[in-house]
Symmetry: none
């Protein structure tokens, strides 16, 4: 329910949580807020009044409204033995995310932790909402997959606030470079390299590459693609690289491939390297429609070695992603960070280093020798 006073309320709360308003600092006056949000004084007072009631602000007649100091309000911190870990991912129900989550959930659950899941649907606003929730309510730690990790993140302040409040967080799959956080990732560049090298070694020289470019995995995989070409002394045709954003994933790559396949036959690529298996499955339909045989007419390789490699008539060659293992490792690290926090200080330095998984090539039937070889 989006009421005006609620919008004002959330906006003020956000500014407190992201550190714009520091404790005991004066916030905007009522008349300023009226202008800012284009609402009546009544509405502003409702919003501010709510926040005062919940301990976020305090008012002083004649002086102004001030940010409250919530530093040690947490008398309820140790609500018994209720330990909470949050997992934030872009999606929870799609593709390989369920596997990653399961790996973490199983471990955390066994260790007696409560696990809360949130999915940002690749939206920074949602990410902010959840970070606010974590800062507000009591959580012992967060495992987070960054949203749109390739572009600069508007919620950096919230992460810094997590650090200030001593709430440990771990990033998986990717990380925001500015933060240099503890992270559990796959070596995406090497993965992209293995993908392309496999095709090159089969004899392909004209390899179409599809890469998502709004998370940081995409550019890294593309870098591997380029490196493999260079390492084998093969020229790269710039038009062989197609990039797309998450919101276009259902349309752009499909129509781009269709255009290429319907173009002059001589210029048709003999192989395709895909950002992931999900895209590969989508592109299969384009190839089928044109009655091209895989891998005789065209080879195609996926990424992540997900369950999707196995659902179609063509079994996909792919690159192994640790999936549930990644989740489990993240969970283990998280718990050792949580216990370190309590035992205050030094610990196994082992536990506090980032992990980079090594990708492996898994060959199935979607890749083969090029036609004219």
């Amino acid at each position: 329910m989006q009421t005006k006073y609620n919008i004002v309320k959330q906006a003020i709360k956000s500014k407190i949580l992201d550190g714009t308003f520091q404790p005991h600092q004066k916030i905007s006056s009522e008349s300023e807020l009226m202008k800012q949000f284009g609402v009546s004084r009544h509405t502003v007072r409702l919003a501010v009044g709510d926040l005062v009631n919940n301990g976020w602000l305090y008012r002083e007649q004649g002086a102004g409204t001030f940010c409250a100091d919530r530093t040690q309000e947490n008398n309820n911190t140790s609500v018994g033995n209720q330990k909470n870990i949050a997992i934030i991912t872009t999606y929870i129900s799609d593709y390989i995310f369920p596997s990653i989550i399961r790996g973490a959930e199983t471990y955390l659950s066994q260790q007696g932790y409560h696990v809360s899941l949130f999915s940002t649907n690749n939206d920074h606003d949602n990410e902010r909402r959840f970070l606010e929730k974590i800062l507000t309510q009591h959580f012992d730690g967060v495992i987070i997959e960054p949203t749109k990790s390739a572009i600069s993140n508007p919620n950096i302040n919230y992460y810094l606030n997590l650090e200030r409040q001593n709430i440990p967080y771990i990033m998986i799959n990717a990380y925001y470079d500015e933060l240099e956080p503890l992270s559990i990732t796959l070596d995406d560049e090497k993965g992209g390299f293995l993908q392309t090298e496999h095709l090159i070694e089969l004899g392909h020289k004209d390899i179409l590459g599809f890469f998502k470019n709004d998370d940081s995995q995409g550019p890294k995989r593309m870098k591997g693609y380029l490196k493999a070409h260079r390492a084998h002394g093969i020229d790269i045709n710039p038009s062989n690289i197609v990039t797309y954003k998450t919101e276009d994933k259902y349309d752009k790559p499909v129509s781009d491939l269709a255009a290429i396949l319907d173009g002059p036959e001589g210029k048709r690529p003999t192989a395709i390297a895909c950002y992931n298996d999900e895209l590969t499955i989508a592109l299969l339909d384009v190839i089928r429609e044109r009655e091209l045989n895989i891998p005789k007419d065209i080879s195609i390789i996926g990424f992540d070695n997900s369950f999707l490699t196995n659902v179609s008539e063509v079994k996909l060659t792919s690159i192994k992603h640790p999936q549930s293992e990644m989740g489990e490792v993240a969970a283990q690290k998280m718990l050792s960070m949580v216990s370190n926090k309590h035992s205050n200080g030094k610990s196994n330095k082992n536990d506090l280093t980032s992990v980079v998984f090594d990708p492996e090539l898994v060959v199935r039937s979607s890749t083969g020798l090029p036609k004219n070889k």
Copy 2:
């Protein structure tokens, strides 16, 4: 300082303290208070709003303002704003479960609830462990998908204990018959009927049916399969029914189908009705290996209308399962049960009835006319 709203406030508070207003009793309406004290509505709302904030009253739109029950609000003061709902399913990361969970999680999260997930992996011991946790720690409600709902449940006592402790629970997908709980399900029998009837109407008379038999959905879908045969006056070949347990789902149906397809051609069924899409995808491989064309040589129909209907070269005809909608409805009902508990008693009877979703047939390319027709 005697402000008008303070006078009103004190007067109402007095009536609560001297027992004029008993817990859950409706107090005077805002317009009545306006008359009584000769003040504006705004002033009344200020006074009442303060009392609501301090837990003396609660308001219900359209109904009135009521005296709160402050009898055992002791622990509530600090922990009270942390609302916890548990979701227990057999799996969290597989198949359609992520979608169901997402539907519930999104709604509960929006309403400010804290959601904890647990997966039993179809094991009664795990189910018991989680129920113990819920009984021990503070949870406001549970959304649960029964584990092995077809066979008698060893944890019935735990459910009865939930009732005794006044912790509301809702079952989704299936329910333990003995408990007669509030449940959100799909009409599985009708789904099975639609599946089979679709094949019969296409002209199939020899229809192989695969049904899981350790959850209650399986037998119901099978019942629909049988009913459709009877409704169309078609004899049922007993050997056309294959049942399997969850732990055999990767082996038994596949080997059984292989044996049948490798048998005498005359006795080969012309169509297959599957317990769900996941099984359907697995069986596709068996059919492909024998180079049979779908749907020309054999039709196959799935169940749940999951994302798997769309990943293969053959797009699966299936039966629609509400998935995320089921989760959301369960979450809504859960919250109205939780709030009823607090306002103690009467409520919309609407909210407290079970929901049975109506399945729909979704036709794609995996079903067609039988060969000799």
